[in-house]
């Protein structure tokens, strides 16, 4: 069972503010998702290889060769928060 506190903790991890009403609703929704996983857990997977990737391929490599980067103006085009070519964010601890 996911509690309201856990919803708030997950919200903090994602840096999203969740108010009291929302956390009740999320708890309910997340619990129904977990119930579904519970059902999946009942499937017998004895002897089945884990799927690490949906496509059955390995070793897709790239040569160590330089390709062009983006111009700085383009990198910063979508933000108003910038200073001397940097993105600017609030104080971070």
């Amino acid at each position: 069972m996911i509690t309201k506190e856990e919803v708030e903790h997950v919200g903090w991890l994602a840096r999203i503010e969740i108010d009291a009403k929302e956390s009740d609703a999320y708890a309910e929704k997340l619990n129904s998702v977990l119930d579904y996983f519970g059902q999946l857990d009942e499937v017998d997977t004895e002897g089945v290889e884990p799927t690490y990737h949906v496509a059955d391929i390995v070793n897709v490599f790239r040569k160590d060769e330089v390709t062009a980067s983006m111009p700085q103006e383009e990198v910063l085009a979508n933000t108003e928060h910038k200073q001397e070519g940097n993105f600017k964010a609030p104080k971070i601890m």
Binding site: V58, R62, V66, Q83
Partner: protein, 473 residues
């Protein structure tokens, strides 16, 4: 001697090594040469985490990772894959870091260091690949800043995180471990350790076998030693005052030399690791033998060989093999002059002069040190003059032979010394009488006269012997 670890100190280190000798980043073709560039000029949709971008792994980065794993005596995993480590942080534009979780490319290994009580084995827990985040620049000190500037040029650089067991028992051992690790990585030629941020250290420290505290953001080896000394002292004092050590993360403030408690960090399960769907698994087992062939002779093996091949003592062999460049330099010198002379002049004299000036071995040539050693062994100059020549080459430039001439450092011919000795004895009968009467000090006076007459170009030891011989005739 057995080191008993009186304070029950345990130190484990996590070292992030940036593979800055690769041409490109881990998952994209952006150049790694960003160090003197404008912010955010070495980035692309992949390293910015823009929607729709697709990472593709750098083949050479995987080879380097295997190489490092092998050099640290690690097992290399058959198949490896990447995970997403989720946390929201502005230096990770995607909102997760692509890293390795349950199948790190390199598993258990070990490094041998000079410990408090002789050779000491430090276990390596794992070495895994991950991408470097961008660089945050706090406007002011970290806990009082007004804002943060973010430069993503570093974002996506290949990191190898090397995690040790908590096997180090003092800050000194931690420092030795870091030096040894750096030495091995230099030998492998996978990174340039002189570039900013090439090696970054987080430390786990506990005292009295208690709970561990993680100290993050240590940017230099000297810093690591200082941070550890401070943290051990802090924990001991805290316990002495009746406090309890709790699991926490602290930040090392390099400027103030103290550690500061940070907000409690996410626990491992908070990271919600899950397999990276944009990258396919890597089957690397069949690449290992080929990479193994590219491994160079590593420091420990080279040290052994130097002792055997050149007849060097342990101290010289160690000092000469710490840095690959110095080791190669020494071998070139040893091919031309007596290896033991080469060891003394390269290790004891030249390295000392270079360290004093904070220069690397590149600042001197093999040819010049060979010339200096040959002048000394041929008895043409004194050892004191040889040191003077080395200093002059480093400070003012020039060739040893020219300096010898310009400064008149050639030892004077034997007959000139002999004449000076005869004169000194003839001109100072009182001193001679004093010496013969048992006044040892008079000998020094006479030797001083000889040096004066030869304008200091005679070898003091030889002059002394000649005076003695004459007096005892």
């Amino acid at each position: 001697m057995v080191y008993e670890n009186p304070d029950g100190v345990r130190i484990g280190l996590e070292v992030h090594v940036q593979l800055n000798k690769l041409n490109t980043k881990l998952f994209c073709g952006c150049s790694t040469e960003y160090h003197d560039s404008e912010p955010n000029t070495h980035v692309c949709p992949v390293c910015l985490g823009l929607p729709g971008s697709l990472p593709v792994i750098n083949e050479k980065a995987v080879e380097y990772a295997i190489k490092i794993g092998l050099a640290l005596n690690c097992s290399i995993v058959e198949q490896t894959q990447f995970h997403r480590k989720n946390y929201y942080y502005p230096d990770l534009p995607k909102g997760f870091q692509t890293t390795q979780y349950d199948f790190p490319i390199a598993g258990e290994g070990r490094i041998i260091i000079e410990g408090e009580d002789g050779e000491h084995v430090v276990g390596i827990t794992r070495a895994h690949m991950e991408e470097d985040p961008g660089r945050l620049q706090h406007m002011g000190s970290i806990d009082r800043s007004k804002g943060t500037l973010i430069n993503y040029n570093r974002s996506g650089m290949t990191l190898i995180e090397i995690v040790s067991e908590p096997d180090m028992r003092s800050p000194k051992e931690a420092r030795r471990y870091l030096d040894k690790l750096r030495s091995i990585l230099d030998y492998l030629d996978v990174f340039d350790g002189d570039l900013e941020g090439a090696m970054r250290v987080d430390a786990n420290v506990s005292v009295h076998w208690g709970e561990r505290v993680e100290v993050k953001n240590i940017s230099s080896f000297k810093g690591a030693e200082r941070a550890l000394l401070y943290e051990i002292m802090r924990q001991k004092n805290h316990i002495r005052r009746g406090g309890e050590i709790v699991l926490e993360t602290r930040h090392f403030d390099e400027a103030r030399g103290v550690t500061i408690s940070m907000r409690t960090k996410e626990e491992e399960h908070d990271y919600r690791y899950f397999p990276e769907p944009d990258l396919v698994p890597l089957r690397v087992a069949d690449r290992v033998p080929k990479v193994r062939e590219t491994l160079p002779e590593l420091p420990d093996a080279k040290r052994e060989r130097f002792m055997e091949q050149y007849g060097l003592g342990e101290t010289h062999a160690r000092a000469l093999t710490t840095e690959i460049k110095v080791a190669n330099f020494f071998e070139e010198v040893a091919a031309k002059v007596d290896p033991k002379d080469a060891a003394v002049w390269v290790s004891d004299i030249l390295k000392g002069e270079l360290n004093y000036r904070e220069l690397s071995i590149d600042a001197f040539t093999v040819e010049d040190i060979v010339a200096v050693v040959e002048l000394v062994t041929a008895n043409k100059i004194t050892e004191k003059s040889a040191v003077e020549i080395i200093r002059t080459v480093l400070d003012d430039g020039g060739k040893p032979q020219e300096i010898v001439e310009a400064k008149g450092l050639l030892k004077v011919e034997d007959d000139i010394v002999a004449t000076a000795v005869d004169e000194a004895i003839a001109e100072n009968p009182e001193a001679v009488a004093d010496y013969l009467g048992g006044k040892e000090k008079s000998l020094n006076f006479l030797v001083g006269k000889v040096m004066q007459k030869t304008k200091g170009r005679a070898d003091a030891r030889e002059a002394r012997e000649k005076v003695l011989a004459k007096l005892n005739e």
